[in-house]
């Protein structure tokens, strides 16, 4: 098949067929992440037991880069202790800013497919939206407690 895809296949696939884009009713940490420049708006939902992220999902909408990045992120962090997830977030954000080492990018595994975004300054905020929201959740978990209806 002729490859006419604008973004690479990893990104396109995660955008079109996301694994983690659904509600998570038993999430105990939920935070909205907004990128006003292009209107990406997601809710990151995590179920954390002790220090471990046992489940996670996101809902909302946004551009392909924001959606694929959040989906890839969840595939990597579900099952991880909080600190390891935050370490990956730090590596990812630095990769997008162009300051991560090759070893760190290797650690990012599938998320490394987004490394070219570092050459698209207008899209940096899209790429880091999910990861930045993850950092915010753990920085201030009190603000991320779902309110009882």
């Amino acid at each position: 098949m002729e490859n006419r895809s604008f973004y690479n296949e990893v990104l396109t696939e995660h955008n079109m067929r996301p694994d983690f884009k659904h509600d998570l009713p038993d999430a105990n940490l939920v935070l909205e992440g907004v990128n006003p420049s292009c209107g990406d708006d997601i809710y990151l939902k995590l179920k954390v037991e002790g220090d471990t992220i046992v489940d996670g999902a996101f809902v909302g909408d946004g551009c392909a880069i924001s959606q694929a990045s959040a989906d890839i992120m969840l595939g990597m962090i579900v099952g991880l202790p909080k600190d390891e997830a935050l370490h990956l977030a730090d590596c990812f954000i630095r990769m997008i800013k162009g300051t991560a080492s090759e070893e760190e990018i290797e650690e990012l595994d599938e998320a490394g497919a987004l490394r070219d975004i570092s050459h698209m300054p207008a899209r940096v905020k899209c790429a880091v939206l999910g990861w930045h929201t993850l950092e915010e959740i753990f920085k201030n978990p009190e603000k991320a407690r779902p309110k009882a209806d």
Binding site: R4, F6, M16, C38, G39, D61, C63, R123, C126
Partner: protein
């Protein structure tokens, strides 16, 4: 068809297709030349004319004011206040007229389709004075039903603010009718002409408004220069906006009296070369003829709209009739986020806008998150439209959708 591309240095010898004129228009060589001539031949601080260059600078600046006054059919040039842009003009009205005259219980009526710059100043003025902000809603096609207009104006309404042409729909709004309704209850009418000034011959007398503002850069002029028109008696009564140099008559240690209108509203050294550039842009549009420009824009809009309507996953916002778009085509593509649409167009060297178009309440009202927008102006041609349509047709397959 007009063939004006050659007049625009940025468009010469490039294959870039520029379809973002509703954000800012390109500038013809004559505008740059007018600014260059001012800077090279008579640059001095105007309004302090004690030597030849300064007198010439003053003369050039005031001649530009006369040209703008004629452009909008003002009664006298003093009714024109030069500003940086539309946003500054609207803030000037909000900080001076609105903050001085609004009282608790008064109502300010804005429409839901306003650009943020015709909304936030009124939010501020209402917050400061205790007045209430009310909204006039439009339907999904961007039309204001007449009953809704009548119902929205009450005896408490003191100010009505409406864009002449929406930067999302491109449709010409019923400003004349609205001004009539506003005046019937003693309210004043503000018209944001940022999107209409490049397309429609403005006549403040016919529109019947009390304030009208526009930017130079959207009608092929320089950035950083715009104009506010208001009726003389309003300008006379309004307090100054910014205070400082060039706007005083007499100053003591603890008081001051103000210079005559319009200088009362033009504090500090003015953007004289910008005003001269704006004058050149207005003359350029007048030479081409605003009606000729509009029929050129409408013909291209028709071609684009037809092509878009033929694509199953493309949805154009607003009228199905090309002449009701003022060259503005806001659209969505199923399954492709506007930011990705813009990125793919950019890779094809086509410039379009994506996002909320500084009209978030409208986007919410229409139930869309964000949209893409192509806008057509006098230098565009059929090849531009065809390149746009070609890219648009391949968007979904390039995002991985099998068609």
């Amino acid at each position: 068809m007009l063939d004006l591309r050659k007049d625009f240095p940025i468009l010469r010898g490039t294959d870039v297709v520029y379809l973002d004129s509703a954000a800012t228009a390109q500038r013809p060589a004559c505008v740059m030349e007018a600014e260059r001539a001012f800077n090279d031949e008579r640059n001095a601080n105007p309004l302090r004319g004690l030597y030849a260059w300064s007198m010439e600078a003053t003369e050039a600046y005031e001649r530009a004011r006369q040209t703008v006054a004629d452009f909008v059919h003002a009664r006298q040039p003093e009714e024109i206040v030069f500003t940086r842009n539309t946003t500054e003009g609207l803030n000037l009205i909000a900080y001076t007229w609105a903050c001085t005259n609004l009282r608790p219980g008064d109502e300010v009526l804005v429409t839901v389709m306003e650009h943020h710059s015709n909304l936030l100043p009124w939010q501020m003025a209402c917050e400061r004075t205790g007045a209430t902000l009310r909204f006039l809603e439009c339907d999904q096609r961007g039309v204001f039903p007449e009953e809704a207009m009548r119902a929205a104006v009450t005896e408490r309404t003191k100010l009505v603010c409406m864009g002449h042409v929406s930067n999302v729909f491109g449709r010409v709004n019923p400003v004349e009718k609205m001004a009539e309704l506003a005046h019937s209850v003693g309210a004043l009418m503000v018209c944001d002409a940022a999107q209409s000034a490049p397309h429609i011959a403005l006549d403040v007398q016919k529109l019947g408004v009390d304030f009208l503002v526009f930017s130079g850069h959207k009608l092929c002029g320089p950035m950083g220069i715009g104009a506010l028109w208001a009726r003389m008696e309003l300008l006379e009564d309004m307090p100054p906006f910014l205070r400082g140099g060039e706007m005083i008559e007499y100053v003591t240690r603890d008081s001051a009296t103000w210079a005559e209108v319009p200088h009362k509203f033009e504090a500090g050294t003015v953007n004289a070369s910008g005003a001269v550039g704006l004058e050149a842009a207005i003359r350029y549009l007048q030479t081409a003829g605003l009606e000729t420009i509009e029929s050129h824009v409408n013909a291209l809009t028709e071609r684009a709209l037809k092509g878009m309507q033929a694509l199953p996953h493309v949805h154009v916002i607003g009228s199905e009739n090309a002449v009701e778009h003022s060259g503005i085509l806001t659209f969505t593509v199923d399954g492709v986020h506007p930011h990705d649409i813009a990125a793919i167009f950019d890779s094809d060297r086509i410039c379009i806008r994506a996002g909320h178009h500084c009209a978030q309440p409208l986007m919410k009202h229409l139930g869309v998150g964000s949209t893409a927008r192509a806008s057509i102006y006098l230098y565009n041609n059929e090849q531009d439209v065809d390149r746009f349509l070609e890219s648009l047709a391949t968007l979904r397959s390039r995002m991985g959708y099998g068609e």
